[in-house]
Symmetry: C2
Subunit: 239 residues, 2 copies
């Protein structure tokens, strides 16, 4: 009984150009791991329709759920909604339900729902809206793809709306152990441990701290008792 | 004359599991943008051979240069070198040139070149070694793919070795302008500006700071004079 799988598609050039460091990916990865969904792949692409369409189709075919972030705002470089409609062969136009959400939001703040803002009500015909409690403009779910905003506060609010609708798996428990030895010294015992505990995933993450090499060994699994056993073995091997 | 393109393939589950935030991607993105190479796509995959092989083939076909990080250490979960050999139909074994580098390094520090460490000398037959001044175990270049370590200090040293061998383009200059208005207000003028300056790429990055919405507008291009002109227009439009 493998856990459900997910992928993320980050759309936009702010990470690719080196302008910003990712925050949404890190947030989603943590949230999914808590509910036992395995984030199996992430792709980051620029604002280019052909690449976006190909990527979302590939990920949607291969994984149970896909999350996208970015490109659903009102400006000329926001092409995600149109790409999603095209990827899944749906028509797209301003939808009354989305327009009503925007109208209510902007009426309350006395701001005009102009042509640019109305672009955010363009939603593929069969998509379901995702609530945006921060700034009203909705995300949407099309097939198994949840299309969400790139602004971190909005992205996080949308993730919170979507997660309860997912079928989770057994949450992954992880325990870690730090060894101040080179990976070449621990590789043998670690390989043996991996063979002895096939139900656990055992990763080794080398680091260099103040000139010393070491590794963080991370044991992951669903059975807390088994993890403790393996951790004891590990502590003994590297005592 | 479009700039050369690059992609990055991050291998390993530390980012996917939410354990760590990316650092290597951010470093590479900044370095490439300085020498005028466009980072067009990033994929992050776990330690799974089939996925790694498919991803590196796809990226190698599509972009001028590919950089990978992670999975070339001595532990059981380090399968990158074997995947690269398989992806490009080459044989792989411990190579004398790589073994000599490791031997010299470990002799100097009085550490045994054991079986686990020797795995790091497994290099595909026709690959060229990439220098690792930090911990000796080399990366390698196979076809248009530079295969590098995941430990940030080693990754950065390898990037520094590889970059001078790349054919760069015209470095991208970027100028940015902060507007404290909602994106819906600036979308119109911004779209006009994008039409008036087709040689520039104009991005809008919305943010929420202390409850106020705003956007960072980033103009990118190769011609400094043109950028200044556009920036003046922008300042005028949002004065």
């Amino acid at each position: 009984m493998a856990n459900p799988t997910a992928a993320m598609l980050v759309i936009g050039d702010e990470i690719l150009s080196g302008r910003t460091r990712d925050a949404n990916m890190h947030h989603l990865a943590g949230q999914l791991s808590e509910i036992g969904v395995t984030l199996a792949e992430v792709r980051i692409v620029g604002d280019e329709a052909a690449t976006i369409i190909e990527a979302v189709r590939a990920l949607s075919d291969r994984y149970d759920t896909v999350f996208t972030s970015g490109g659903i705002g009102p400006t000329h470089d926001d092409i995600t909604a149109d790409c999603m409609a095209q990827a899944f062969g749906q028509s797209i136009d301003v939808r009354d339900d989305a327009r009503a959400l925007l109208q209510a939001h902007y009426d309350k703040s006395g701001i005009e729902l102009n042509a640019a803002r109305l672009r955010m009500a363009r939603i593929p015909q069969d998509a379901t809206l995702i609530d945006n409690p921060v700034s009203a403009a909705p995300g949407f779910t099309i097939k198994n793809v949840h299309v969400m905003a790139g602004v971190p506060s909005v992205f996080q609010a949308m993730v919170a709306s979507v997660l309860p609708t997912l079928t989770g798996g057994t949450p992954l428990i992880s325990k870690s152990y730090t060894v101040f030895r080179g990976e070449g010294d621990i590789a043998g015992p670690l390989g043996d441990l991996a063979k002895a505990y096939p139900a656990l995933s055992i990763g080794s993450y080398p680091f260099q701290r103040e000139g010393r090499f070491g590794a963080q060994i991370v044991l992951r699994g669903h059975d807390s008792k088994l993890l403790d056993d393996a951790l004891d073995q590990l502590a003994e091997a590297f005592a």
